[in-house]
């Protein structure tokens, strides 16, 4: 069970449900620590007062806000806590809306809510919220305060649990004004061809098919470094293609390729065995396919050995 980040209660009309909150997303990216190159010791960050050139303990640090007229206002955490405009231990549901009416651009971080305590009544009230909301793609809109910040949140049912997502405020979404919206409206024949191309490249949404190649490569680099190998960054070889003068001809060519299966519709998945030193077991044709997937420059004139080197390097 993950660590709870907040506890309080969700308030819906006069119904109160004590809950705890867990993050529904975790960053699995490879983490780095800052180290001192000379001795490999960890780097610590220490806070110093610039006036006195002296280290300052945490409790002596305040928060300063610079006003436009050059004046500075210093506030304490207690003062910030005190202006919280609402109960800080409650998620107040203000309204319900259709999920489809909220553009995903507003969604920020996902969480789960779970009932807390041994009370059967609490679990039943939680279950009641799940049952009442788990239809017609309804979301509850509410607010709550966590660590001296107020959040607007959307609560919906996911995996039979209440799922809370923090949302961006309306004024935190930038205007699209001034961004180039492109050239002229496409002719019907062109649009039809483009629609046909997109449909030809259409697949089901399979999140598991999209692996984190960056994470895998970084883990691989770390493993090789550990074994004392040298690692070089690949050259930036793929040039940006130029826009085509004749869109219609390009659409036809793309459709023909999509139809012949030359362009794979399914996402490319990097094969794990390609990283495990079994490249020598593959034929040149198989190696060439891998090289094509990885866009290895000069692959067509490479021998089997050269392809293995290029794929490993």
């Amino acid at each position: 069970m993950p660590r709870p980040l907040w506890s309080g209660s969700i308030s819906f009309g006069l119904v109160n449900v004590p809950v705890v909150m867990f993050s529904a997303a975790r960053d699995l990216g490879v983490r780095f620590n800052q180290l001192h190159g000379k001795d490999g010791a960890r780097i610590e960050t220490r806070r110093f007062c610039a006036e006195e050139d002296k280290e300052v303990p945490f409790e002596e640090i305040g928060r300063a806000f610079d006003l436009e007229d050059g004046k500075t206002v210093v506030v304490t955490d207690d003062e910030l806590q005190e202006v919280a405009p609402r109960r800080t231990r409650t998620i107040d549901i203000e309204a319900f809306a259709d999920l489809a009416a909220i553009d995903p651009i507003y969604f920020d971080h996902p969480y789960f809510l779970a009932p807390i305590g041994d009370s059967d009544g609490t679990r039943r009230a939680y279950q009641l919220l799940v049952e009442a909301m788990d239809r017609d793609e309804q979301v509850a809109i509410g607010r709550f305060v966590m660590r001296t910040k107020e959040y607007l949140v959307a609560i919906q049912v996911r995996d039979e649990r209440l799922a809370l997502t923090t949302m961006r405020w309306g004024d935190e979404i930038r205007s699209t004004k001034g961004i180039d919206t492109g050239g002229k409206k496409p002719a019907k024949a062109q649009l039809d061809q483009a629609v046909a191309l997109i449909e030809a490249l259409g697949t089901e949404w399979e999140p598991e098919a999209w692996d984190d190649r960056h994470r895998a490569r970084l883990e691989d680099v770390i493993e090789r470094k550990r074994k004392g190998q040298t690692i070089k960054a690949p050259a930036q070889e793929r040039e940006e293609p130029s826009p085509v003068p004749d869109l219609m001809a390009a659409l036809e060519k793309s459709l023909a390729e999509a139809g012949s299966g030359k362009k794979k519709a399914a996402p490319r998945k990097e094969k794990a065995e390609a990283r495990d030193g079994e490249l020598a077991d593959l034929s040149r044709e198989e190696l060439y396919e891998r090289a094509q997937e990885e866009d290895v420059p000069g692959r067509s004139s490479m021998s089997k050995g050269e392809l293995i080197d290029a794929l490993e390097g």
């Binding site: 506030v75 009416a101 039943r124 279950q127 049952e131 062109q190 940006e240 060519k253």
Partner: protein, 256 residues
Amino acid sequence: MPRSLWNGTITFGVIAVPVKLYTATESKTVRFREVHLADEGKIEHRRFCSKEEKEVPYDEVVKGHEVREGEFVVLEKEEIEAAAGDRAKIIELESFVEATAIDPVFYEKTYYVGAGDAGTDAYRLLHDALGATGRAGLGRFTFHNREYVVAVRPLDGILGLHTMRFADELVPGTDIDFSAPSRKPAEKEIEMARKLVDSLHEEYDPAKRTDSYREAVLEMIERKASGKKPRKAKEKPPEETPDLMAALEASLAGKQ
């Protein structure tokens, strides 16, 4: 005119669409800087070597990944870059999926995508065709030496790009474990709760709600600047609902 963060090319089929990327969201949270309460002196973060008890200049700091408790593998900048792939400025839309099939929980950060200086007809064609099919294009995108999977879809008359979380980065609901109530809520209670949901239904309008906490913090700062005492908000502890049905009935009655 906003400034673009990245210029590159989106491709679908053999069609190249030159594009420019822009920031779509910005945090308006009131930002403070750290000060020493005693003398309002600026707080500086200084790097210290934990072994030598000595300040370390930035060029002596390296990045290490902890492979085992206390064992680090140090990577040079170039070696970290090696993991970014070929870093080509191309987003190849490899497949197209029903936009509504993607749970927004996968979307992490959003960017606006505008047309580039050339090939602007191709940009409009991609935009309109995505709109007509209701599909989003999926591809890989390297930005600041990090490779992302992204979804491209029409958004407010232009194209929007979302960087996406990977499937294993989402916590499954089954990881959140709690026991079921001894008896389920009664049909009548569910019906009442649904009535309450319906009575609170609204057309969602993001402009309708503002960050009242941000406003209160700014007001407090102003009051302090002019030498007044900050106002305090009151807090009332929430309590558990003893009688669900009675609370539902009272909530509904309060709405009418």
